[in-house]
C-alpha cells in the first residue's frame, strides 16, 4: 500500500512521461475499437441464405422445408430463386402479353408455378410425380404451394434473380403475390450470404 503511494507520487513527479503513456493507451484503445468494429461487421448473423437453383419438385421441397424450419429455429431466412428455380414463382393464374418468341417458348416449356414442377428422379412421364404428390397428400406432407405460403407468413424473404427473369423472358407481372418479393442480382445474394451462418445451394 505504502509502496503504491510512493509509486504514484513518483508518477506525479514526472508528468511528461505520464502524458506519453496516456497517448499510447488512447492509441491502443482506438486500435482495439476499430478491431472490434470490424469483427462485429464480419461476424455472421443468425441467418440462413439459400440459393434455390433447382426447378425440381423434390429439391424445391427440401429448400422450403429447410427455410420454414429455420424460421422456427429463430433464424432469419433469405431465399434467392435463380435459373430453373425462377419459374416456380410464376403465378399460374396470371397472364402476360408482349413476350417475344423465345420468351413464349420458355414460358410454355417451364413449370408455371409451384404446383407444376416434376421430380428429379422417377418422373416416368409425370406418373412418378403424380404418385409422389398423392402420397404426400395421404401422408399430410405440405405441398410446395403450401410451403411457399407458409414461408410468406413466417417472413422468409425471397429474391428473384433478375438475370434469370430476363433470360427466360419472364415478366414481373406474372410472378406470385409474395410478401416483399424483390428482384436482385449476385451482389445482393453475396451480401446476405456473407453475413449468414448457413448458406445452401439447392
Amino acid at each position: 500500500m505504502a509502496e503504491n503511494l510512493v509509486k504514484k507520487a513518483d508518477g506525479f513527479e514526472q508528468p511528461g512521461q505520464n502524458i506519453g503513456r496516456f497517448e499510447e493507451i488512447d492509441k491502443k484503445v482506438a486500435e482495439l475499437q476499430a478491431q472490434i468494429e470490424s469483427l462485429s461487421r464480419e461476424t455472421p448473423e443468425n441467418k440462413l441464405s439459400i440459393i434455390a437453383f433447382s426447378g425440381d419438385l423434390d429439391k424445391a421441397l427440401a429448400s422450403l422445408i429447410i427455410a420454414t424450419g429455420a424460421v422456427a429455429m429463430g433464424m432469419d431466412v433469405v431465399m434467392f430463386f435463380t435459373f430453373w428455380g425462377t419459374p416456380l414463382l410464376r403465378d399460374g393464374k396470371k397472364k402476360v402479353r408482349g413476350k417475344d418468341i423465345m420468351g413464349k417458348m420458355f414460358g410454355k416449356m417451364l413449370p408455371k408455378g409451384a404446383g407444376k414442377p416434376k421430380l428429379s428422379k422417377m418422373n416416368m412421364g409425370g406418373m412418378g410425380t403424380a404418385m409422389m404428390k398423392s402420397l404426400m397428400e395421404k401422408k399430410n406432407v405440405a405441398s410446395l404451394e403450401e410451403l411457399l405460403n407458409l414461408a410468406g407468413e413466417l417472413g422468409v424473404r425471397i429474391f428473384i434473380c433478375e438475370m434469370s427473369m430476363d433470360l427466360m423472358g419472364f415478366k414481373r407481372e406474372e410472378m406470385v403475390d409474395y410478401p416483399g418479393l424483390s428482384y436482385a442480382g449476385v451482389a445482393t445474394f453475396l451480401e446476405e450470404a456473407k453475413n449468414s451462418k448457413v448458406q445452401l445451394f439447392i
Binding site: I65, I66, T68, G69, V71, A72, M73, G74, K139, N140, V141, A142, L150, L154
Partner: protein, 80 residues
C-alpha cells in the same frame, strides 16, 4: 411422487410431418408468457430429435417427454 406438470396451452400436432410440428410449436409458444408451459402432442417420430434441437437453439426448455402408442408428448417451458 413426481409432481404432475401443468400446461398453459395444449397443441395437438398429431398427423403432421416435418417441418410442421416445429414450425407450429415455435409459433404457439409465442402465445404463452415467458415461464409458462406448452404441451405439444405429435405423432412424428422425428420430433424426438427435432424438438430438443429446436428447444436448444431457440432457448426454450423441454421439461418432460412422454411416449405412448406412437404419440409423443412434450412439455415445453417458454424461456425466450
Amino acid at each position: 411422487m413426481s409432481e404432475e406438470l401443468r400446461s398453459d396451452k395444449v397443441m395437438d400436432l398429431k398427423g403432421l410431418p416435418c417441418p410442421m410440428p416445429v414450425v407450429k410449436v415455435s409459433k404457439g409458444i409465442k402465445e404463452v408468457e415467458i415461464g409458462q408451459v406448452v404441451e405439444a402432442v405429435t405423432s412424428d417420430p422425428g420430433a424426438l430429435a427435432d424438438f430438443p434441437a429446436w428447444a436448444r437453439t431457440s432457448g426454450n426448455e423441454i421439461l418432460k417427454t412422454e411416449q405412448s402408442d406412437g404419440v409423443i408428448k412434450f412439455y415445453i417451458k417458454r424461456n425466450a
